[in-house]
């Protein structure tokens, strides 16, 4: 590692939810230029970790640094792409206007979007290849297009870190493939991309590194490296040595 601080650094984070410890001793670093897949079973704390990074969930111990500074909601350069069902797709609004809402926090209460903001929106839409559909009402988009709109909204801020929460859920294989390629491109263009997913095969295939999470980070490494370590997978997912998951990981290795 060079002298510069990593884009995202989670150190020694513990989080309580409803009086129960859901994350403990979480350490994770994501550098600019890499796509890190965050894998784990349901209830492992993936979404909680993303919320903690966003500053929406206070950590009991530890800290989250974004480009070397303590992350606070709305202050840090983090682009957040929520799960698609979190978004009100029936709202009467165009694609470009949705992307503009990504800048609402930065604009503040009194300022209205100006030329610079619209340029940022156009650039973000161009990047996810949705510029042609800028004026279309979001309710008319397909699942893959909707995911792209959410990514563009996050990109409008020109963030260092991009958090993607289950971006592939409910999409078919070809659409997943195209989106995975987009995420890899975004990472290699200089974003630090952290993506939660249940799509193990896609993550092994597309991510630069994988982090296995179950209450804590069980293992981190390149897909090739982790594929050797079946014990980590068994521990993270709580499955037996001959489970389909372990056999799949072993066969990919």
């Amino acid at each position: 590692m060079t002298g510069a601080a990593p884009a995202l650094e989670v150190s020694d984070v513990a989080v309580d939810l409803g009086g129960r410890r859901v994350l403990q001793d979480v350490d994770l670093v994501v550098e600019r230029g890499e796509l890190v897949g965050l894998l784990g079973p349901n209830g492992a704390g993936k979404t909680t970790l993303l919320r903690t990074v966003l500053g929406l969930q206070p950590a009991v111990t530890g800290r989250v640094l974004v480009e070397g500074r303590v992350a606070r909601a709305g202050r840090a350069a983090i682009g957040y792409v929520p799960q698609r069902h979190e978004f009100a797709w029936d709202f009467p609004i165009s694609v470009a206007d949705v992307v503009m809402t990504g800048l609402t926090g930065r604009l503040g209460l009194l300022r209205r979007p100006g030329r610079r903001e619209w340029e940022a929106v156009a650039e973000a839409l161009e990047r996810v290849r949705m510029a042609d559909l800028a004026e279309r009402p979001v309710g008319q988009l397909s699942g893959g297009q909707r995911q792209r709109v959410l990514v563009a909204r996050a990109l409008a801020l020109k963030p260092a870190v991009l958090l993607l929460d289950e971006p592939f859920t409910g999409l078919d294989i070809p659409t997943q493939g195209l989106l995975a390629a987009l995420f890899a491109d975004l990472a290699h263009e200089g974003h630090a991309v952290l993506m939660t997913t249940h799509d193990l095969l896609g993550a092994i295939d597309g991510a630069d590194r994988l982090a296995l999470l179950n209450r804590t980070i069980v293992a981190v490494g390149t897909p090739a490296h982790l594929a050797q370590d079946t014990r980590a997978w068994r521990e993270a997912f709580g499955v037996g040595p001959e489970s389909a998951l372990v056999r799949m990981v072993r066969s990919v290795a």
Binding site: G18, R51, L54, G55, L56, R72, A73, G74, R75, I78, Y80, P82, E86, F87, A88, W89, F91, P92, I93, S94, D97, V98, T101, G102, T104, G105, R106, L107, L109, L110, R112, P113, R129, M130, D132, L133, R136, P137, G139, Q140, L141, S142, G143, G144, Q145, R148, R153, P174, T175, G177, L178, L179, A181, L182, A184, D185, H188
Partner: protein, 316 residues
């Protein structure tokens, strides 16, 4: 009665309450139409109903102590809205239960208070169902100023309200104060209700909030257009409703609501894209088959001609 006679009556100094009622009805329809856009888009109709009931004790207290009704209603409505927002922070109870508790309690309190006033049956009826004759002169500027304030606030907060309405978690991540924006919206709904309650009545005011905005939603996919259409529809219905009720001696609030409902039903059947007839026509039209990612209820004609996800996109 012909529309000309209606205009003559409006100008008749002996019937001064009539233009006053028209002015208040039109102003409240405009404000309710614009605020109602958010009520409809965020599925807040129940909250709108709750606020409408919650202003009642304030009106009752103001009536009993001969204070300003608009002020009394606003205080009670805002107080209830704050209570709901605060109590809704408790995760074990859902917001709609909290609303169910507080708005009925507020309404009950209002009934107990107003029963202390002499001749309370008549005033109760006036509050619940509205009246065009009982608007005091000094209320007119109060209502006008309140309208301007509400419209200015919507204009100022529009960007933030849209962002929160789209997805709350991302709005929080962007640093928006979601709790305060929710509260601001409740207060705006309260003010819209308070200025409308005297002409249209406490029970029917929900129609002024919901029906014009819902009608507008059927006619457009643009928020800006919806925010122009809803108040236009509301104001038009207020004018027509007042005319009809004056001509045939019908209750004003009820007539306005029925006119609004008729407009809504017309839009529901005739709207070019969302309307029932439009859909039947669209179904008959032959469409080229392509892969379908569209949600239920979206017609082919609205679909993207070429989904970019299907377009070639080189992998690195």
């Amino acid at each position: 009665m012909s529309p000309v006679d209606f205009v003559v009556d409006l100008l008749n100094p002996d019937l001064a309450f009539l233009p006053k009622a028209l002015a208040v009805a039109v102003m409240s329809s405009i404000v309710c139409g614009i605020v109602g856009t958010y009520v409809v888009l965020r599925g807040m109709a129940f909250i709108g109903d709750a606020v409408a009931h919650a202003v009642f004790p304030g009106l009752a207290v103001a009536f009993v102590v001969s204070g300003n009704l608009v002020l009394g209603g606003t205080i009670a409505g805002v107080l209830t809205a704050v209570l709901v927002a605060v109590f809704a922070q408790n995760r074990r109870l859902k917001e709609d239960s909290i609303i169910g508790i507080f708005f009925v309690a507020a309404f009950a309190f209002g009934i107990v208070v107003i029963s202390q006033a002499p001749g309370y049956a008549g005033s109760l009826q006036q509050f619940l169902f509205g009246s065009i004759t009982g608007i005091p002169d000094e209320d007119l500027p109060v209502i006008a100023v309140t309208s301007v304030v509400v419209l200015a606030a919507v204009l100022l907060l529009n960007k933030e309200l849209v962002t929160v309405s789209l997805d709350r978690e991302s709005a929080r991540a962007l640093g928006l104060r979601v709790f305060w924006l929710d509260l601001a919206l409740y207060v705006l709904v309260t003010l819209a209700v308070v200025i409308s309650v005297q002409t249209i009545g406490n029970i029917l005011v929900l129609a002024l909030l919901v029906t014009p905005a819902a009608t507008a939603r059927l006619l457009t996919d643009r928020l800006g257009v919806m925010m122009l259409l809803a108040p236009t529809i509301g104001a038009g219905a207020a004018l027509v409703g007042l005319y009809v009720s004056w001509s045939w001696a019908l209750p004003t609030g009820g007539t306005i609501v029925l006119v609004l409902t008729a407009v809504f039903l017309a839009a529901w059947t005739l709207s070019p894209r969302q309307g029932v007839i439009g859909r039947i026509l669209a179904r008959r039209r032959p469409t080229p088959s392509s892969r379908d990612y569209l949600p239920h209820g979206t017609t082919r004609s609205e679909a993207a001609p070429l989904a970019p996800d299907l377009a070639p996109e080189g992998r690195p």
